[in-house]
């Protein structure tokens, strides 16, 4: 149960907001849920709703609205390549395509071993350091900038070993 396992983290999150505005903590709690279960499960939504004393449907709509929450299982690591305009001007589309080819998937797909989902995403505020991607996994989100297909593949190999 999240409430016990992450008690201190949940308490320090709730402490940021007025006592009668617990709902503000929903986004942070969903990150905690996601790192525990890999994605936001139905049970997790119920748990978060119980902690915050709101309806599970309210939690579900938050999960649906924001792009960094997942309500289904995907790769262990989301490899999110920015293919937005400024990065694309510096070769990001080709980078994404070549990276996918190297791992034998199409953009948006998960590798057979279930390790990686490679996605094309919108601007990540790193446009001067394209090609770039972020890795989203249980540990959070990390940026990798000024990448080549080789350097990206190396990052992924390292992640895959964990």
């Amino acid at each position: 149960m999240l409430a016990e396992k992450y008690r201190s983290q949940i308490e320090s999150t709730l402490a940021k907001y007025p006592a009668d505005q617990k709902r503000s903590a929903v986004m942070q709690l969903l990150y905690i849920a996601q790192s525990e279960y890999g994605y936001v499960t139905k049970e997790a939504m119920q748990e978060v709703a119980d902690i915050l004393e709101i309806e599970p449907t309210q939690v579900a709509s938050i999960v649906g609205f924001y792009s960094l929450y997942y309500d289904h299982k995907a790769g262990e690591h989301h490899i999110q390549v920015c293919t937005d305009l400024p990065c694309a001007l510096r070769g990001a589309d080709k980078f994404a395509e070549d990276l996918c080819a190297k791992f034998g998937v199409k953009l948006g797909d998960t590798t057979k071993d279930g390790k990686f989902t490679i996605e094309g995403v919108m601007c990540l505020a790193a446009c001067d350091k394209a090609p770039m991607f972020q890795v989203q996994n249980k540990e959070g989100i990390k940026y990798y900038e000024n990448q080549t297909v080789e350097s990206a593949a190396k990052v992924m190999e390292e992640l895959g070993k964990k």
């Binding site: 709902r23 986004m27 990150y31």
Partner: protein, 436 residues
């Protein structure tokens, strides 16, 4: 020139609290808390001529003075959502000069009579937020945050709040909804945040760069700040330059530098000596401008840019060389706005869907000239009918792009007999095209 916002470029290790303090850090905050009234702080910021760096350029001190009087609680919220394609300045500030931003937030909080301030960071800034939390913890430990600061009865706490991937949360009222734990959808205005903001209380929302200017304004004075830049555009601006330049990155200059100076003297010019075909000055939502001499010699300040029919906004300057197919550029911006429309109002939700639908067919050479006219028509229909500016943002590049670079769209039309050579097979920058 010395930096004001990117001061870490002049002072090594400025991200460390002891270094920041050694360089005058938190003296401005101490000064306001111990010797000034909130109204006096607001007056200094007003006199400095500081304008919002988040996009709209609204005078900062004036915004603070609009707070509804005599309410029980006030809030300050820093907008670090930074999601406009082409914008990456707030991230550098938070990574490299975090304490100056925090001091700015703290001074704003004192001026607004707020005892709690939040910094809302886009969800992708996970690591940045962690670092901010560490900085805030240090400030608490050193007595710069907490109860009865400097022996006065003023108390203040600052917290970070992480978003989760939604461009619309950069719009201030959507940001406040998101901070309240709701869907990030814009509110109807009025009421404005200065009257009913976070938890229905009067709230100041300012951009990261805006607030990072504030400590130096308090330390060196309004006159000093005003003497930098040009009339109506006081101080410096961090410009995010991306796309086809040799040295993309953040550049901080006094307002008034020309676009040509920025691109050629500072960013190393365009790779392979190519010509500038087009520029967008405030990210994906800006007017598309040509790379004509007239545009290149334009001074980068609020008024000069407005005179050319564009806006400086957050100064996210995307440079595109002569090989770029502008219909491909507009396909990219369309995809962005379709993805980011929050869906609350029909013109934006449906309009961005249809614009993208036609643009994808442009990319596949599956359109006629009539379809491109229709595109123009759809874009015009959205204009002026949306609940928040995002809908307008989607239309602005489309209409201006179609106006100047219609030929780039027509070359994909099956009935465009004018096109002498076959259109390229897919929507990617043309490799060997000539200046358009």
């Amino acid at each position: 020139m010395e930096h004001i916002v990117l001061r870490h470029r002049d002072i090594p290790d400025l991200h460390k609290l002891d270094v920041y303090i050694k360089n005058g850090g938190f003296e401005a905050f101490k000064k306001v808390v111990t010797t000034m009234k909130p109204e006096e702080v607001i007056k200094v910021v007003q006199d400095s001529g500081l304008r919002g760096r988040g996009g709209a350029g609204f005078p900062t001190g004036t915004k603070w003075s609009f707070l509804t009087k005599n309410r029980p609680t006030y809030y300050v919220v820093c907008n670090s959502d930074e999601s406009e394609p082409g914008t990456f300045k707030d991230r550098e500030i938070m990574e490299k000069n975090p304490f100056q931003l925090l001091e700015g937030i703290m001074i704003a909080a004192y001026a607004a009579k707020a005892n709690v301030a939040y910094n809302y960071l886009r969800g992708e800034f996970w690591q940045v937020a962690k670092f901010q939390d560490e900085c805030i913890a240090e400030l608490r430990a050193q007595g710069f945050l907490g109860k009865n600061l400097f022996g006065t009865n003023y108390s203040l706490d600052v917290f970070t709040h992480l978003g989760a991937g939604a461009y619309i949360c950069g719009e201030e009222s959507a940001l406040l909804e998101s901070l309240e734990g709701k869907l990030g959808q814009p509110r109807l205005k009025p009421p404005f945040p200065a009257d009913k903001g976070l938890y229905e209380m009067p709230t100041v929302v300012n951009n990261t760069e805006t607030l990072t200017n504030v400590p130096m304004i308090i330390t060196k004075g309004a006159e000093w700040y005003k003497s930098i830049g040009v009339p109506n555009s006081a101080g410096t601006k961090v410009m995010c330059v991306s796309g086809h330049v040799n040295k993309p990155g953040n550049y901080e200059f006094a307002f008034g530098l020309t676009l040509r100076q920025l691109i050629y003297d500072h960013c190393g010019g365009v790779p392979s000596g190519k010509k500038v075909k087009a520029v967008m000055l405030s990210g994906a939502s800006s007017v598309v401008l040509s790379g004509s001499d007239d545009i290149l010699d334009m001074a980068l300040d609020y008024d000069s840019v407005a005179k050319k029919g564009s806006a400086l906004g957050s100064a996210s300057i995307i440079v595109m060389d002569e090989t770029v197919d502008m219909s491909w550029v507009l396909l990219k911006t369309c995809r962005f706005f379709k993805h980011e429309s929050c869906g609350k109002c029909t013109p934006c939700r449906e309009g961005t869907y249809w614009m993208l639908n036609i643009m994808e067919r442009v990319g596949k050479n599956q359109v006629t000239k009539a379809d491109i006219d229709l595109l123009n028509n759809v874009a015009s229909q959205i204009q002026g009918k949306c609940l928040c500016p995002l809908g307008e943002f989607a239309v602005t590049p489309m209409l201006s792009g179609l106006k100047i670079f219609r030929a780039d769209f027509d070359s994909h039309a099956t009935d465009a007999k004018a096109a002498a050579k076959p259109a390229p097979a897919k929507a990617a920058p043309k490799k060997e095209a000539v200046a358009g």
